[in-house]
Symmetry: C2
Subunit: 409 residues, 2 copies
């Protein structure tokens, strides 16, 4: 989170610099009218398709409401439509963005001091923050070239257990990850699921860029999950509206309900949510519900234009890099299937001081990859984000980057 503050602060101090730092979605398609339209659409749905009286519809959107949310059924249909994920709506908890979902899950998994969570490293800073808040230690698992290094995962599991610790779950972003841009190949997904069953831990699958993961989308871990090993975390911030702050978690695992029986993990998360935020604003949920209804529950359909924009941006940056850094020059990068991010590996040390110099002298902002490692790592890497790239300034930005790197050698 300190990382985000530093980047915000540098962006404010150098407003003229070209930024490849923002993880925020593009704003070109933001519409204020859509908020009104989606709200009305959702209310129509309550009246006509759900048969609520005017009074009941009004109460659903304006009064205190169900802790686990009111658009869980729409989300279940969306997941079936776009992701091939078939889960009961009751296993979904609607949350205040994916951040709350991560906190609820990690807080639930921390039962004692022996619990810990593993995270594919580099790791999204929101996960690290939620774990800190939940007092749950995080241990890094190497990502390797394919997104997760299974041999290292096995080593970390064994090492933790040898210390008397209990690795409860592995957090990862299997599709066009933040920050690495990596996507797990299909076979590796299956192996990971098998390992999770064999070694008895959960997979926390974070899926914020789902519909931007390339033309030929691989099935999510949850879509492949036959053993309820996957807790699936979702967000509408990138696919609908960040300003709604609506995310969700799919938690169809069976857990002890504290009264001698078993219940859905989602219900336990709901109990923790009642102590955190009580319920997610039903007005905000209605806005997202209306967006889902407008597009037949498909965020893929809703995001055709913006997905094309991100693809164009990614292609522009990749082409720009190829023109400036020929093979053998010591600068390399990955070529993600889609998403918001790619990673540059460079000969010099990449730290906050270099970022400061980059912004002030070379007019370009990016994110040091070291920000995304719980321990050490990424010292020669930087993250470029393409989500808010302006084609008119991308060349100026990459020229600045090339000049900065040339000056370090």
């Amino acid at each position: 989170m300190t990382s985000m503050n530093l980047l915000n602060e540098i962006s404010i101090r150098y407003p003229e610099a070209v930024s490849f730092a923002a993880g925020r979605p593009a704003e070109q398609f933001f519409e204020l009218d859509a908020v009104h339209r989606h709200l009305d659409r959702y209310l129509d749905h309550l009246r006509t398709e759900r048969g609520l009286t005017e009074e009941a519809a009004r109460r659903q959107v304006l009064q205190y409401g169900r802790t686990k949310g009111i658009i869980h059924e729409l989300i279940a249909t969306h997941l079936a439509t776009d992701e091939g994920i078939e889960v009961p709506a009751e296993s979904i908890v609607v949350t205040v963005g994916c951040q709350e979902a991560m906190f609820l899950v990690l807080r639930a998994l921390r039962r004692g001091p022996e619990d810990l969570v593993l995270a594919v490293s580099p790791t999204y800073v929101g996960l690290t923050g939620a774990a800190l808040l939940a007092d749950l230690p995080v241990r890094a698992v190497a990502d390797g070239p394919d997104g997760v290094d299974l041999a290292d995962l096995r080593r970390q599991l064994a090492a933790a257990r040898a210390e008397g610790l209990r690795p409860r779950a592995l957090y990862l972003v299997p599709d066009v990850a933040n920050p690495s841009g990596a996507s797990l190949p299909l076979e590796l997904r299956r192996e990971l699921l098998a390992l999770a069953s064999e070694e008895d831990f959960l997979l926390l699958e974070d899926n914020p860029y789902c519909v931007f993961a390339g033309e030929e989308r691989l099935p999510s871990l949850k879509a492949l999950d036959t053993d309820r090993r996957v807790v699936h975390l979702g967000s509408f911030a990138k696919t609908a509206l960040p300003g709604a702050r609506v995310g969700y978690v799919v938690a169809d695992q069976l857990v002890a309900d504290g009264q001698g029986g078993t219940g859905l993990f989602a219900d336990l998360l709901g109990m923790i949510k009642s102590m955190t935020t009580v319920n997610t604003s039903p007005i905000a949920q209605a806005v997202i519900g209306g967006a889902l209804l407008e597009h037949g529950h498909s965020l893929r359909a809703a995001n055709t234009e913006v997905a094309a924009l991100y693809r164009r941006n990614l292609a522009l940056v990749l082409e720009g890099l190829a023109r400036r850094f020929p093979p053998g020059c010591g600068v390399t990068w990955n070529e993600p299937r889609g998403g918001f991010f790619l990673v540059l590996t460079v000969p010099c040390v990449v730290d906050d001081a270099l970022l400061e110099r980059s912004a002030s002298e070379y007019g370009v902002i990016w994110t040091p990859m070291s920000h995304f490692y719980p321990g050490t790592g990424g010292e020669h890497q930087l993250r470029l984000s393409v989500s808010q790239v302006d084609p008119a300034t991308v060349d100026r930005g990459l020229d600045g980057l090339a000049a900065l790197l040339a000056a370090q050698s």
Copy 2:
């Protein structure tokens, strides 16, 4: 929170029973159109009074935003207008309801295993839940006839310190408390503030019913606070719209900023919020912001009609009790200045079994006061809520209650 679940469940099983259990605000004045109108009003404010471009206004409401919120200045003006509280807007954190505010504060106060929070008992269940989530032990302080028993508070402080523990704060609702309905007299407020300075602890003042605290409102603790001893917790759930899920905390204390300097407690809470929910939905904040603007920042002005409704309901219930339970009959109750709640003291033991019988055989629902005590307490008391009382059924409900109590003697 189990208490709320039990009450919800009983309400569902006995829909015909007259309920004095709901802590929810009245719904008579809920307006769907108001959501649209407030949203538009807030956007107008951004464009005209704040001078934002159309693009910047759109970004403020639809994009990710400031962690501490976007309507902090409107809230500061509201607090000055309605409450005589003068605080810098920077000391306000806008939260996902008051529940998140309580969690952020308690999580910040819990630095080690020696920390604890005191709470005037009976205590709002949301506080107990937030403390459980934050791993911060709660110890009860007796309320006494005036809302807080200072002698018991001194005893609890001394006892905790003798055990090597660190009482960080005292939580209380000084005006028409939930659940007791009690209000602290002015002189006691001053004594409490002096004690907080003398004994070096914070006062967590929860103020959800502020504008319903009677015609002659006493100054809040924060309005009397000259030593930054009071952390003031607020909610718009009862005074504007529960469905927005917007609350806030005023935290103008100076604390170590972790980098050798000092900063506002509000900034520390903002950092914790960035790990909990990132930011409160700016769409939901805009709805509340518009409501504040529509009524010249005054929730007192906005709530004239509904405040009259609550006063009428309270009077109806008090009159109904007086008719049914003459002096000396063994049933007594308090007469709150306003608010949602009053407490009945009865000869029999009041527990969940009695509530179940009351709902099934006598057609009336209420809340056992024992739900609001962290330890033991309230075994002969029940809470009646008047916020959703229907004048047409209040007599039937009180008849049921009288018959239930008669059958126990």
